[in-house]
């Protein structure tokens, strides 16, 4: 017989301990705040203001206009004007600049040639390929109007129109902040619950607890309830701060967001539970939790688009709760989807929950051997 009173007793005890443990409590609120500011401000996929060197051998009005237009795009900040390509090499090597533009002496000639079918490039862009994302910037820069205008003065063709839905200004924060909910919840639910349970084992509390009438199900439920609430608080903090600080819209219904969060919390909590039944010490529990953390961040579509991944990686990602939650949270928050539109994800998370709960239940015994 499951006793609500005993579950309540365990949950109450857990709350008291959590409230006393100032460091843990601080981390639970502090980590979301720290990560959201970090990711919101620092991580920026629309790269701007790159330090650039310019080698202008043409020194013509056309080349000066070209440089001015490059700067006007805000992608580059020309910090160095150099006299030789050797200087560019040196500056690239010691990272004085990550970007360089070399304009040959016959710049204008090449531009005109280009209009009549010549295939000599008008100018050269050099990029520091040792750093992520910069190469993409160079490729994007190739399409900049400044090149088109100088290269095709007369034609000025009409190209495809690109419309970015849900995030017209292409701000990284809009993509990252909703996904942060999933990552932070994963961290809290898996790390803190696994740690909390293993700690009782380490301190010997469990030896006493299992000689009392508390059943394993009551014990687990009681220990997890506080973390469900904490998860909902964290969700609120992230979404609210994201909205206030980074103008991340909330297009869907809040109730759908909380329901999705609850499903995801259930899945990650049981993952933490499984870890707690395997780990012998808190240290092991933390290590195992981080082992589940890394693939979740890398493969879930949190940072890299899910559709661009190789098949194997996508298969692994299917087993990670964060993958499905990212689809849900971006759907609800950004695309204005309703929970009912997301039934495949709900199913997958439910299956994960059931399997993990079964594994935890099998492993958690009221015995020491």
């Amino acid at each position: 017989m499951i006793s609500v009173a005993r579950i309540a007793a365990v949950a109450h005890k857990e709350f008291l301990q959590l409230a006393r443990d100032r460091v843990t409590f601080g981390l639970i609120i502090g980590v979301p705040l720290l990560l959201i500011t970090l990711f919101g401000y620092a991580i920026n996929f629309d790269v701007r203001h790159l330090r650039a060197a310019v080698l202008d051998e043409a020194r013509s009005s056309a080349s000066r206009e070209f440089i001015a237009e490059l700067e006007a795009s805000q992608v580059l900040d020309v910090t160095q004007h150099v006299q030789s390509s050797r200087e560019i090499d040196a500056m690239m090597r010691d990272s004085t600049v990550v970007f360089a533009v070399a304009i040959p002496a016959d710049f204008e000639r090449r531009l005109i040639d280009g209009q009549f079918g010549g295939n000599r490039p008008a100018a050269q862009i050099l990029v520091d390929g040792s750093q992520p994302s910069l190469e993409n910037v160079a490729n994007a820069l190739k399409q900049l109007p400044v090149f088109q205008r100088h290269g095709q003065l007369l034609l000025a063709p009409q190209r495809f129109e690109v419309r970015v839905l849900y995030n017209p200004e292409r701000r990284t924060a809009v993509q990252i902040v909703p996904a942060l909910v999933g990552m932070i919840l994963h961290m809290t639910m898996v790390v803190f619950t696994a740690g909390a349970i293993v700690r009782e084992c380490e301190r010997g509390n469990l030896e006493l607890l299992i000689t009392t009438p508390v059943s394993p199900a009551e014990l687990m439920a009681g220990k997890l309830i506080p973390y469900i609430l904490i998860g909902l608080i964290q969700t609120t903090v992230i979404v609210a701060v994201g909205n206030a600080l980074f103008d991340v819209p909330i297009n869907g219904r809040l109730i759908d967001l909380y329901l999705a969060a609850l499903i995801y919390i259930a899945a990650t909590l049981t993952l933490g539970l499984v870890i707690s039944t395997v780990a012998q010490t808190q240290f092991q529990a933390f290590q195992m939790a981080f082992v589940t953390m890394l693939p979740s961040v890398l493969l879930s579509g949190f940072m890299f688009p899910f559709d661009g991944m190789p098949r194997g990686a996508r298969l692994i990602a299917q087993a990670l709760p964060l993958t499905h939650f990212n689809v849900m949270v971006r759907g609800i928050v950004l695309r204005g989807a309703a929970l009912t539109d997301l039934s495949p994800q709900i199913w997958k998370l439910t299956i994960f929950f059931v399997i993990a709960l079964g594994a935890a239940r099998l492993r958690f015994r009221k015995r020491l051997d």
């Binding site: 007793a9 301990q17 006393r20 010997g204 509390n205 030896e207 607890l209 009392t212 009438p213």
Partner: protein, 319 residues
Amino acid sequence: MTADIAIRAHGLAKRFGTQFAVNGIDLEIPRAHIYGFLGPNGSGKSTTIRMLCGLLRPTSGTVNVLGNEVPRDAEIVRRKLGYMTQRFSLWDDLTVRENLEFMAKVFGLARPAARERIALRMREYDLGALMPQRAGTLSGGQKQRLALAAATLHEPDLLLLDEPTSAVDPQSRRDFWESLFVIVARGTTILVSTHYMDEAERCHRLAILDLGNIVAEGTPQQLMTEIDANVIEIMSEDTVAARNAITGVAGLESAAQLGTRLRVMMQKSVVSPQAVLAARLKDAGVTAQLNATTASLEDVFVAATRLRRAAAHTAGTAA
């Protein structure tokens, strides 16, 4: 099952890997008694207690606790059981009151009853001033009083105490044993493990455990009078010479130094052991005074564990 037996075990054994921690023991613990497990570390005391409350599954043998088969009916037994672990296992970061309230709720005490019981234990175990204090800040004796209060909140029929006084000063130990006699007078059966002789001597009955076997069992009085050895004290100026002189005497069980005395145990089979020892000492030119004395529980313990080990050793070398 007779009503006056609280715990009955037959052929109880527990193997960890290839090692038997408990090696087929039989137990019969009468109700409303303080029953002691006396034994050195690693003798199987804790393992036995853990099997009795269903924490460990026996490798073989049967256990019946308060009329219930364990581990099958462990859940029923747990309602009637109070358990004090060897290590303090309440929550350091909860206050004394919170710990007691939690345990009361876990054992299903209704709110008014719980409040009354907590107040009662608070007075009994002198916890009043400590109630708002975190358990982690208590002294060894205070922690032990709290643990006992928590283990007896639900008035269990059986109290299992695993080395309850190992981290406690002598005065607290005395007080603790006074409380145990109060509890046993209410009809509770108490099983307590210890490696202190003075504690073992306070028990109604006693089992001496060694290497996973019960090597002696009975009331402390019985054990001391029925010991299979004679105890002789040798007083000498030169205890080292005296010890050297008697080494190798046939039937010598043990010789332990207590200040200027040597406490010597001789096997019962040796006729007039005092004369044998006196002759040896005289031959060696050691002046000494010999007294026959009554066996203490420590002697019983030493004799029981020694004999067993010697037997195990000869069996080992013979094989």
